[in-house]
């Protein structure tokens, strides 16, 4: 009984129940004087009861609201549409890539990026880990990043290069739009950017799973994390598993946890994947590793590939984005637009 949760004496509780006050909602609606006359206590005691009632219902939101939905977490599609419109995105620093992504990597979703070695997966991962820290004045999220490295491709000197380039771009931007010198100062420093990337290195699949399980607790303590990058999700799972069904189970559990983290904390999850060849329709084609069942585990899937001498990104699967491809390039300053003269974004 809700009334039973109130820290009052048993006799008062009995009087409340006898007078017909069974829910906290009914108690809080009453005024102190009415309550006092109804149950036969002094007004001070009635005020105390009301205070306890409002405290208890504030702690537990399901009590006291007669308008609560029967299933917790149910939302109307209208609220969801409004939420999606204001969903925050993290820029990739390449305008063409941002365009096909609808503005950037979306928070609250799991995005998978896969490609051959050398195409730039780790570079995109590092760029996103830096870009998530762009302060809101410059259009970013001002958040922190978690970078889980399974392969050892994360080089601090490269992160410093990209961080310095990002800061230079920001001060150039502010020079254009602000007149006074004080406004132009960018408060970020490359070392500060490094400090806001939480870097974990895992050396086996058990460590990887344990870390993903631990992330819930970690992000509770570091609420400003806005992106989790897993580079790469595949490496430790391509060793021999005697029981492939176990591998599929472990992978789907991991994907589920990551999806829950994305929704719960409103952050973006980016998984980097490798490619393998698969025998489809009589020829060997390139597909992302980890098999067919894994392909259902992420919200968006982007394939990175070479087209001639240019790097391209292609949206392979997405519930909301159009299938399109765009070119990007990897420069000393990070991911940028490619310099080709031909039309960059191709609708498929």
């Amino acid at each position: 009984m809700e009334v039973g949760m109130l820290p009052i004496s048993a006799s008062k509780r009995g009087k409340l129940l006898a007078a017909g006050y069974t829910t906290l909602h009914s108690i809080s609606r009453a005024s102190p004087s009415h309550l006092a006359t109804d149950i036969g206590v002094s007004e001070d005691e009635a005020c105390e009861i009301l205070k306890y009632a409002s405290q208890t219902s504030a702690l537990d939101p399901s009590i006291g609201s007669s308008n609560a939905s029967t299933l917790e977490g149910g939302q109307t599609a209208w609220t969801m549409l409004n939420e999606e419109k204001f969903a925050t995105r993290i820029t990739t620093s390449c305008a063409d890539l941002d365009n096909i992504l609808g503005g950037g990597i979306t928070c609250k979703e799991v995005t998978e990026l896969g490609g051959v070695p050398g195409i730039g997966k780790t570079q995109i991962g590092i760029q996103l880990a830096v870009n998530v820290q762009i302060p809101p004045e410059y259009g970013g999220l001002g958040g922190k990043a978690i970078y889980i490295d399974t392969e050892g491709s994360f080089m601090v000197e490269r992160v410093l290069q990209i961080a310095e380039a990002c800061i230079e771009d920001m001060s150039e931007y502010s020079h254009h739009f602000h007149n006074t010198v004080q406004d132009c100062e960018v408060k970020l420093h490359p070392n500060g950017i490094l400090e806001n990337i939480f870097y974990f290195r895992v050396c086996s699949y058990t460590e990887q799973i344990a870390l993903v399980n631990y992330l819930d607790k970690f992000i509770e303590e570091h609420k400003d994390v806005k992106i989790i990058i897993l580079d790469s999700v595949t490496f430790h799972f391509r060793q021999d598993f005697d029981d492939m069904a176990l591998r599929t189970r472990l992978l789907s559990e991991m994907a589920l946890k990551l999806m829950k983290l994305a929704r719960k904390f409103c952050l973006a999850v980016v998984l980097l994947n490798q490619v393998t060849t698969k025998y489809i329709e009589g020829s060997y084609q390139l597909t992302l590793a980890l098999g067919d069942s894994w392909s259902h585990s992420c919200t968006n899937r982007i394939v990175l590939f070479w087209n001639g001498d240019e790097r391209h990104a292609y949206i392979d699967k997405s519930p909301s984005l159009k299938s399109a491809s765009a070119a990007y390039s990897v420069t000393t300053r990070g991911i940028r637009n490619s310099n080709s003269s031909c039309k960059r974004i191709k609708m498929v």
């Binding site: 601090v156 290195r201 631990y214 021999d240």
Partner: protein
């Protein structure tokens, strides 16, 4: 589980013995990762590796790691004479080096099969744990990884899958050692000829659309699966210079080193030469 402090995590690099090549590689071979050197036979992979294991003994102030090295070779015999020659050149250019014979700091192990290599990894781990002397073990060279896999496996789907999972097991083991002990791992690989018209064979991995050596299109051995296992790939190639010398002596071979992919290096290439003293950039 605590995140690592990035500012305290700088990557150490090991000099390769020539300042030009070091500059090309942004400091040298990085620790804590696997660097692959791909080349045709007789292009200079082994020379490169022999020079690396000697120069790793230099102190960090000179670009080295003050480290001893483990040289795992799969092609027999081990080039001991060339190592001694390079070691003499090393000593003459570094007369104040504390170790009397640099070859003493190079541990050599021959391996015949891939399974033997997998079994060797825990032994290497024990060796690393106990090597806390003045020159701890910090460089591991495997020359070459391709030789272990070229003959034992048929071209059937099952064998290829078994081979693939061995790649990841070996690479996973080496990377774990690299991370725990700060080791630089260098692996050499061979090339396979690329046959025109067989598109299935060549998947472009890296900055170059096609790799050429001695005028022929080639592709690194062991395929896409192994390419996913290494962190960086360097390609050594040689091209015959068209004209013979005026006095009829042998044509000069030009040798080139190219970055195919690396997380910290842009696409670049440079020439190098091999002399009696070693491998040097131009």
């Amino acid at each position: 589980m605590q995140p690592q402090k990035l500012l305290h995590l700088p990557t150490h690099k090991c000099t390769v013995g020539c300042p030009l090549l070091d500059r090309f590689l942004a400091g040298g071979i990085p620790c804590n990762s696997i660097t692959e050197i791909v080349a045709e036979n007789a292009t200079g992979k082994t020379q490169f590796c022999l020079q690396l294991v000697l120069y790793a003994q230099l102190p960090p102030s000179r670009g080295g790691l003050s480290a001893s090295s483990l040289y795992i070779h799969t092609e027999f015999p081990f080039p001991l004479r060339r190592l001694r020659q390079l070691s003499r050149a090393f000593r003459s250019s570094h007369p104040d080096h504390p170790v009397a014979d640099p070859c003493d700091r190079v541990f050599v192990q021959g391996v015949y099969t891939a399974d033997e290599l997998v079994d060797a990894i825990p032994k290497i781990e024990l060796f690393l744990i106990h090597s806390r002397s003045r020159f701890p073990l910090r460089v591991i060279v495997i020359d070459s990884i391709a030789a272990l896999f070229r003959s034992d496996f048929d071209n059937t789907v099952l064998d290829l899958r078994r081979r693939s999972s061995l790649f990841f097991k070996i690479a996973g083991g080496l990377k774990s050692l690299a991370k725990r002990f700060g080791v630089a791992v260098v692996v050499t690989n061979q090339v396979v000829d690329l046959i025109e018209g067989e598109k299935g064979n060549s998947v472009r991995a890296g900055n170059l659309s096609a790799l050429y050596s001695s005028g022929r299109p080639v592709v690194p051995a062991l395929g896409l699966a192994w390419a996913n296992c290494v962190n960086s790939r360097l390609f050594l190639s040689r091209e015959d210079d068209g004209d013979a010398d005026v006095d009829g002596s042998s044509r000069k071979k030009r040798r080139r080193i190219t970055v195919v992919f690396a997380p910290h290096l842009p696409h670049s290439s440079s020439e190098f030469v091999i002399t009696t003293e070693g491998v040097f950039g131009r």
